[in-house]
Symmetry: C2
Subunit: 276 residues, 2 copies
């Protein structure tokens, strides 16, 4: 379906020429993807992944080399990204705009390379992360919208946004987020710092949108925060509930994990400077 | 994925009670659907269709009866609808809001019943059509958007909208649209009347949108009109091209058929009165 075709010969030629010197060049890329048709970011046995598609595209670009790709972190099946960040080492010095076009011509239409940048070889897409922003979209219209089913939680109920925002204010700062972490995690340290936790009406799209910025997020943390805060907005839990859950440190006391399709990894921050 | 469950016993009971009297009640429904995962509106051997899903839902509602469904017309694989119209005869008198909820609880999340209405048994969703409105969405941003791939043609080129509108003005009125009809059609009469043919920038969504209203549309007519008008907007064809094509009456001289995913059956008109 992609309408752009691209001559790869330039890249292939330059690899053959340069790889003998053993030079490696590190590139950072910002990518967006619709996670609907993937088992998640990371390669898995049970289906296709974003990472596998990136590997395939780079293999074609290099005429057969396996180029490992490292991302800022995983995203789950059905979760989307507006601004996931990856890095990879390429065996030749490539033009960044040409590389972007080449990758986009080789990737399926649900994965987009938005930007390619040459970086110092010390840069690491995962270890250097200083923060991330996630969005969670909730469609609140009475009529369930067939065109939003893959990109929002459809929640046709009244929400008290004022109460929800008051509740979210309690998670700002550094806290132990054990109550908001899937028990399937392998992480010991559950302390994270949240810089921003906001809920607002997105009039343009007739949605309610959550925005979280923090130095790191535990497994399912955003989705459990959303699931619990929606129950506060529905009047099923009191406004001080997030505060209480931070104290009890029990996943079983928090609300449900909101479904994946509303979640977007919006931006990844490095060195406290926004990279986009 | 649907969050609404529904008690069907009321409908099932009333059928058993009423069907012995042999009464039939005709209902009109407005439905929206995301056509991505279907071979088209109509039942076909090679895959799932909207019509088959409607039949399945009605079969569950009636505990096993086959209820034929008639639509205003077919839509192709990948084509969407905001306002397709169907009619069906139900063996009992049903509450229209209850029927809407019941159908929505039984249909997959990419098909939505927006409205159910009881109509006179003389009403026919296909024969009584007096006009239709189609929309065609074109995303013109430089960066191809992975979230719009199923709902727009991604066309990252400059378009001269003024020229395109001038060209479209030539198709208003009653003309022979042979040049804009797939040769696969079985229709002899290629004369149709176009009431409105507009192209405009949809700033909210960063798109260019086509809107066509007419008394009827031939097979692929909107998509060939869009494909040809985009070539006028790109400067590949002169502004009087649609006028010339109406006169030559040859499909081979017109532009390409624009892909299905940008096309939406927006509204169907009956008796010159908009039903929504």
């Amino acid at each position: 379906m992609r309408q752009v075709s691209f001559d790869l010969s330039y890249f292939q030629f330059s690899i053959i020429e340069r790889s003998e010197e053993g030079l490696m060049n590190r590139y950072k890329a910002i990518i967006a993807y619709d996670g609907t048709n993937y088992v998640g970011y990371q390669v898995q046995k049970n289906g296709n992944s974003i990472q596998a598609e990136l590997n395939k595209a780079l293999k074609k670009m290099t005429k057969g080399l396996y180029i490992p790709v490292c991302a800022s972190g995983r995203t789950d099946a059905g979760v989307h990204a507006n601004g996931q960040v990856i890095h990879f080492d390429y065996p030749s010095d490539i033009d960044i705009n040409g590389a972007k076009r080449a990758l986009n011509s080789l990737l399926p239409s649900d994965i987009l390379v938005k930007k390619v940048e040459k970086v110092d070889e010390s840069f690491h897409a995962r270890y250097d992360v200083t923060g991330k922003r996630y969005l969670y979209r909730v469609s609140t219209t009475q009529a369930i919208d067939p065109f939003k089913r893959l990109y929002t939680l459809q929640h046709p109920y009244r929400l008290d946004l004022e109460k929800m925002q008051l509740a979210l204010n309690d998670i700002i700062g550094t806290h132990d987020f054990t109550s908001f972490c899937s028990t399937k995690t392998d992480k010991e340290d559950k302390v994270r710092t949240i810089y921003r936790a906001e809920v607002y009406r997105d009039e343009k799209n007739n949605e309610v949108c959550f925005m979280f910025e923090g130095n790191g997020f535990l497994y399912n943390m955003v989705r459990i925060l959303v699931g619990t805060t929606l129950q506060i907005g529905n009047g099923l839990r009191p406004v001080n509930e997030l505060q209480r859950l931070l104290e009890v440190k029990k996943r079983s006391e928090a609300g449900p994990t909101a479904p994946p399709q509303g979640l977007f990894l919006d931006e990844v921050f490095y060195c406290d400077i926004k990279i986009d």
